[in-house]
């Protein structure tokens, strides 16, 4: 079986994630969409690892997961602060800095 379906799936997931980032207002959801993009990458990595016959991709996938976890920590902290300050998690509300 060719790896193509997996890769296509991962591409679709990635696109969904990217579009989600663009369309959703809630910071948490936006962030989750980013996570989706990372996981789409993981799928691709694992697919290629299998296709290539080595483990590097799988290792990378683990790293990405770890990094994503770290990102969650940092991200939630930031989003929480904003939420507490503004009583809103909408990314559109934070638009003082412009031009």
């Amino acid at each position: 079986m060719s790896p193509t379906p997996f890769v296509v799936l991962s591409a679709i997931l990635f696109t969904i994630g990217a579009v989600g980032v663009l369309t959703r207002r809630n910071a948490i959801v936006v962030f989750m969409c980013v996570e989706l993009m990372l996981n789409a990458s993981n799928l691709a990595l694992i697919t290629f690892a299998r296709a290539n016959g080595n483990l590097e991709g799988q290792i990378a996938a683990f790293f990405v997961m770890v990094v994503a976890a770290a990102e969650v920590v940092v991200g939630l902290a930031i989003i929480m602060t904003i939420f507490r300050t503004r009583r809103s998690a909408s990314v559109d509300d934070a638009s003082l800095l412009k031009y």
């Binding site: 980032v21 369309t23 990314v91 559109d92 638009s95 003082l96 412009k98 031009y99």
Partner: protein, 651 residues
């Protein structure tokens, strides 16, 4: 009538040889040669830098330096007079003025019979006019400065006629232009004087285009601009080039000598003090154009076309000047018109080639005498009439100013060509030669002589005869001695100037410079031509007598006049033409260019700047503060990057 002394040269001329400038070393003449320029130059420097400290003796110093120059000129003149014809050219290189590539210009002096005569005229008449000015300018608080400028003029004029190189001539050429500018505008507080001064300089500069380009063409053609070297090379140059050089030099001459079409400045130049008009705008500077043409005979001899152009210009101007002279009521403007006209004669003569050069110079000298005489006389009249120049306010002054009247009469008789007087000899020769070479021009010259008789008689009648038409409160009186003595001397010269032609002396004397002409038979015997000329003049005089002398002269110029008079009064519409064709379009062009400079040229840059700022202002709106739109731009960027990669690698 050609004397034996010049036979050799004459034969050479027959063989197509044009005299070359081949001077010997100045030797013992070096000192006077340098002094002749240095004295007035020094005078000018001292008087200009000395400031008020020199006010007391400024006029005396100024006169003394020119007198000293005159003595040097005499010394030089008699020194070469004692030599044989072949050794009358001497030169003195002072220092190398500048050099570049193969072009080296020496600041050198060339003294030959031509310069010799000019030197005597400039310093001689110059001295007399300086003396006269002591009296004329006695009450002007800036008299010292006036003498400084006069000295500057004399120095520059001497430089002009002594230079051994076209560039040296240029130095003197613009030097006299400067002096003329300063002196025309001497009474600067009068806006008309200041404007006239500027006009004179600017129009002269138009002529100088010719000199500058002429120098360019001479250098390109011969690789040198010194008279002696150029004169040795001209025989090998092509006629076309020589014509071009000739026409360029003619343009220069037109500017300086107020010839058509650059004549308009001369009438305005009468704004200057009258001694200035006498010295610069009658006797010397305005004849520089004639000098230039005669000096460049080694060029003009190889181009009949350019010579013809010279003659035609001269003829046109002599008629125009005479015409203007007929219509003016301002005594100085009549004289100015007359000057234009007389220089027209000289230019005409110098265009006639070998046969005419000497007569051009001859007329130049006699004109220098009688016109200076009459200008100073006019100055004397004005002096007595409280500086009124309108002849309609004169009349019957012969009794009030006897000396002025008598001396002026000598000048009058000379200019109209009364037999025996200086002008008779010189003008007659020009008409004779012109008729021999180009009958059409000759007849014009003849007519011009008649008109001269008319307008000069009109001037005499309006000024010295007819009834009094003085302004109330004016009490004409004779001028002081210091002014009348120069008048007397000049009157004497006006009478006796013709002696120069005795035994063809002047022709012979100038032959080493101008070449000697083969004798040409005029279409009519010489004596007939002379009689004819006298007859024409007599008609003119008689006409004036009947039109003016026999009638009442209104104090106000009649408004209803013929087209011809109106044209004459308006300087034949020369200024109107210039205004219409050059000044006004020039002004609008300048204005348009200023707008263009601001809006288009500078606007192009400032416009770019503001366009960038506008772009910036619009682009920054994209930075709208919404993180999602940033993300969109990021995604778009990713697409762009991908697209760029794909397009490049598929293409």
């Amino acid at each position: 009538m050609i004397s034996t002394a010049t036979t050799v040269l004459t034969e050479a001329a027959h063989g197509g040889h044009v005299p070359v400038v081949d001077p010997g070393s100045a030797g013992s003449l070096a000192l006077p040669l340098v002094l002749v320029i240095a004295l007035p130059a020094l005078g000018a420097t001292v008087l200009l830098l000395g400031g008020r400290r020199t006010d007391r003796f400024g006029h005396l110093l100024g006169t003394a330096t020119v007198a000293g120059s005159f003595i040097c000129s005499l010394v030089l003149f008699f020194a070469i007079l004692g030599r044989d014809a072949a050794h009358r050219q001497v030169s003195l290189d002072l220092w190398t003025w500048f050099s570049s590539g193969r072009w080296t210009v020496e600041l050198g002096l060339l003294y030959d019979p031509l310069s010799a005569l000019f030197l005597l005229l400039i310093t001689g008449v110059g001295s007399l006019i300086h003396v006269y000015s002591i009296g004329y300018m006695a009450h002007d608080e800036r008299r010292r400065r006036f003498f400084a400028y006069l000295n500057l003029f004399v120095a520059a004029m001497l430089m002009l006629v002594l230079a051994s190189d076209y560039v040296g001539v240029f130095l003197g050429w613009e030097g006299v232009g400067l002096a003329s500018y300063l002196l025309i505008g001497f009474w600067q507080y009068k806006p008309s004087a200041a404007a006239a001064a500027k006009k004179a300089f600017v129009i002269n500069r138009v002529g100088d285009i010719g000199l500058a380009l002429g120098i360019g063409l001479i250098f390109t053609t011969f690789g040198t601009t010194s008279f002696s070297k150029v004169s040795q090379l001209t025989s090998a140059a092509s006629a076309g080039v020589m014509t071009a050089i000739g026409l360029l030099l003619l343009l220069a001459a037109c500017g300086k000598s107020a010839q058509f079409p650059l004549q308009t400045w001369l009438l305005d130049a009468m704004e200057g003090p009258t001694p200035v008009s006498a010295l610069i705008h009658a006797a010397t500077m305005v004849t520089a154009g004639v000098y230039l043409i005669v000096r460049s005979q080694f060029i003009f001899e190889y181009t009949a076309d350019a010579r013809l152009a010279v003659s035609i210009i001269g003829t046109i101007t002599l008629l125009m000047g005479a015409w203007i002279g007929c219509a003016k009521d301002d005594i100085k403007k009549v004289l100015a018109g007359s000057t234009m006209s007389q220089i027209g004669y000289m230019v005409l003569a110098s265009g006639l080639g070998v046969a005419g050069y000497a007569f051009a110079i001859f007329h130049l000298l006699t004109h220098g005498f009688f016109k200076a005489n009459m200008f100073l006389g006019a100055g004397s009249v004005m002096h007595g009439m409280d500086d009124d120049v309108n002849m309609r306010h004169y009349g019957a002054l012969r009794k009030a100013m006897p000396v002025t009247f008598l001396t002026f009469t000598m000048g009058y008789l000379a200019i109209i060509g009364f037999p025996g007087f200086a002008g008779f000899w010189s003008k007659d020769k020009i008409i004779e030669t012109a008729l021999a070479q180009n009958p059409a021009l000759g007849i014009c010259a003849l007519i011009g002589a008649g008109v001269t008789g008319f307008y000069m008689t009109r001037l005499m009648l309006l000024t010295f005869f007819t009834e009094k038409r003085w302004e109330p409160g004016v009490h004409p009186h004779e001028s002081p001695k210091v002014m009348t003595v120069p008048l007397i001397v000049l009157a004497a010269l006006s009478v006796l100037g013709g002696l120069l032609l005795l035994n063809d002396w002047i022709v012979t004397f100038l032959a080493p410079v101008t070449g000697a002409a083969p004798h040409e038979e005029p279409p009519l015997p010489a004596i007939v031509i002379s009689l004819l000329a006298v007859l024409v003049v007599a008609v003119g005089v008689a006409l004036a007598w009947f039109l003016i002398g026999k009638r009442d002269v209104p104090r106000e110029a009649p408004a209803k006049v013929s087209v011809f008079t109106a044209a004459g009064r308006n300087d034949l519409y020369g200024d109107a033409f210039n205004d219409l064709v050059i000044v006004e379009p020039g002004k609008s062009f300048t204005g348009g260019l200023a707008t263009f400079d601001r809006s288009t040229v500078d606007g192009g840059f400032t416009g770019t700047a503001s366009a960038l700022a506008g772009l910036s202002g619009r682009l920054r709106l994209a930075q709208n503060g919404f993180v999602r739109s940033y993300a969109l731009s990021l995604l778009a960027g990713a697409a762009l990057v991908l697209l760029a990669l794909v397009v490049v690698n598929l293409g």
